[in-house]
């Protein structure tokens, strides 16, 4: 393992400290229990709190700031944060408009946020993101995983919350965006959890993991490396099949947001190549892309690979995607 590390036990705190120092104009960091929150806390709005295991940077701390999250609770690498972190974050914001937790649908995250929600004495609600359509047979799952589509949910709900919308309205929009977003990822290599010191899974030089999760957990199947267009085609077809299953009706008037997300070790050059490939295919299917995002937005440490997310827009989602945002990882319009 070759990584920039001083002491294994210090990796998380040193990284969080660096993040807070680099973005001191936007966020502040509290330690033990760890959480990050906006430097200038907005009042009189629903507080949006997300969190999850570390190793997916810039998710979630990179999305704290005007137009997105109010706070984020980072767990250990690939390990859910604990309820004391959520409680401390919620108490530091002290909103009277309620707290909305945005949680990726993994057993650990769900249970820890659930316990925090039970212990919190402020009105609260939770959105579970579950955009990953990689795992097809739902009888074997306890629900789909939340992956890069979470960024779109956080952006749109964050925008709505700034307008003073209610807890119920924010939750409803988040659920709508989640429902209209499907994602699927491909791993070319494994990732290495620093504390483990070796790759999470072994994969042949000529193999890829189709449908990989953002922790390197297996997806649909292990297949031979193919040319990019063939791999992207499987992703796009999986997403469109998922939309069909979700009965999202597509007409020519419909616009979409295409997000090509890198897992950490795939260069932007290849991510744009994937974008080109996916856009070409979607066009053949008569799907119109009017919004796009390409880059490392939901990573899996040092995994090489990428995910494709497609969100079916409507006027409301479009408005909240376009609205001003000022966070460490997403900034436009202000």
């Amino acid at each position: 393992m070759k990584k920039f590390i001083n002491k294994l036990d210090d990796v998380l705190v040193e990284s969080l400290s660096g993040f807070a120092e680099a973005h001191a104009d936007i966020v502040k960091l509290a330690l033990a229990p760890h959480f990050l929150s906006r430097k200038n806390q907005a009042l009189n709005k629903v507080a949006l709190i997300s969190g999850g295991g570390s190793g997916h940077e810039p998710l979630h701390a990179g999305y704290i700031g005007y137009g997105m999250l109010d706070a984020a609770c980072p767990g250990h690498v690939f390990t859910s944060p604990t309820p004391d972190q959520m409680l401390a974050a919620a108490q530091s914001i002290a909103t009277n408009q309620g707290v909305l937790f945005i949680v990726k649908n993994y057993a650990g995250d769900v249970m820890n946020f659930e316990m925090a929600a039970e212990m919190l004495d402020v009105e609260n609600a939770t959105i579970y993101t579950s955009d990953d359509c990689a795992v097809v047979n739902s009888t074997y799952t306890e629900g789909r995983r939340g992956v890069a589509g979470t960024v779109i949910v956080e952006k749109c709900v964050g925008s709505l919350a700034e307008t003073g919308a209610s807890l119920a309205e924010c939750k409803a929009l988040g659920e709508k965006v989640n429902e209209r977003t499907s994602s699927i990822g491909i791993a070319l290599t494994s990732c290495t959890v620093p504390a483990a010191g070796r790759p999470t899974f072994s994969i042949g030089e000529d193999e890829i993991e189709m449908g990989v999760g953002i922790h390197g957990e297996p997806g649909r199947r292990r297949v031979k490396m193919q040319e990019a267009d063939a791999m992207v085609k499987e992703c796009v077809e999986a997403i469109l099949a998922d939309w069909q299953q979700k009965q999202l009706s597509l007409t020519e008037r419909h616009e979409t947001l295409l997000l090509i997300n890198g897992f950490g070790a795939t260069p932007l050059m290849e991510l744009y190549l994937i974008y080109h490939s996916a856009a070409k295919l979607l066009k053949q299917h008569g799907i119109c892309i009017t919004r796009s995002l390409v880059g490392n937005y939901t990573t899996a440490l040092d995994m090489a690979g990428a995910s494709v997310s497609l969100c079916l827009l409507d006027d409301e989602i479009k408005q909240h995607w376009d609205s001003p945002v000022h966070t460490a990882a997403l900034r436009w319009g202000c």
């Binding site: 993994y106 959890v193 483990a196 922790h215 390197g216």
Partner: protein, 209 residues
């Protein structure tokens, strides 16, 4: 059973987890996400580090403190699940004068029930419950029959081992391996493995004269 035993049990559990690093890591890398050993090690360390704080408490309070500590140090799914186990077991824990195998078995069972509720899971889903449920059922049955402590402990060690082995051929419907479908068949469940290790460590300690 006294708090002193709980403290020794925590040390025995920690040792067992450390001794089984390779097994826990390889199982979790095969069908999980590779963090289970690290989390269990961190949790065991935190509990062993509470020795002084726990020593003066009665057993029920000590068990509850252990649950709260696990809740804030473990993270992942194991955190809330094991925390729910200890906190619910603490609530049902008998007063010192009523402590006997049956009252302890019932407290253990309350802990297992709490895991089922929190995880919305049952037997046969390739999780820690495939070890805990049969162990709990057998614990109650043997205690009701007034079997000796030594007999019960030996039987529970066997029961935990069998429960663990049973996870090998299961398809996971709960937990991180749930996305794997049939690919999880042939692998033991890492959460079941760590539970088997913990139960074995505690039972062996209880068997030590």
């Amino acid at each position: 059973m006294h708090t002193a035993f709980i403290l020794d049990a925590a040390k025995a559990i920690q040792q067992s987890i450390l001794d089984n690093e390779a097994a826990l890591e390889s199982l979790d890398r095969a069908i999980g996400d590779g963090d289970h050993y690290i989390n269990m090690k961190r949790g065991a360390q935190a509990i062993v580090g509470m020795q002084e704080e726990l020593a003066s408490l009665n057993t029920a309070l000590a068990l509850n403190k252990i649950g709260l500590k696990l809740l804030s140090t473990l993270g992942g799914a194991s955190g809330p699940l094991l925390a729910s186990f200890f906190m619910s077991m603490a609530k049902q824990w008998p007063a010192a004068e009523n402590a006997n195998p049956l009252s302890i078995a019932l407290a253990f069972d309350a802990g297992v029930q709490a895991i089922m509720l929190r995880g919305k899971a049952d037997l046969g889903e390739k999780t820690m419950l495939d070890v805990l449920i049969p162990v709990s059922q057998q614990f109650k049955q043997l205690a009701e029959k007034n079997q000796s402590k030594a007999y019960i402990c030996s039987a529970l060690i066997e029961s935990a081992e069998q429960g663990l082995i049973n996870t090998r051929d299961l398809i996971a419907t709960k937990g991180r391996a749930a996305g794997l479908g049939e690919r999880a068949i042939g692998h033991l469940d890492p959460g079941a493995k760590s539970c088997q290790l913990m139960i074995t460590a505690v039972c062996q300690l209880a068997l030590t004269p």
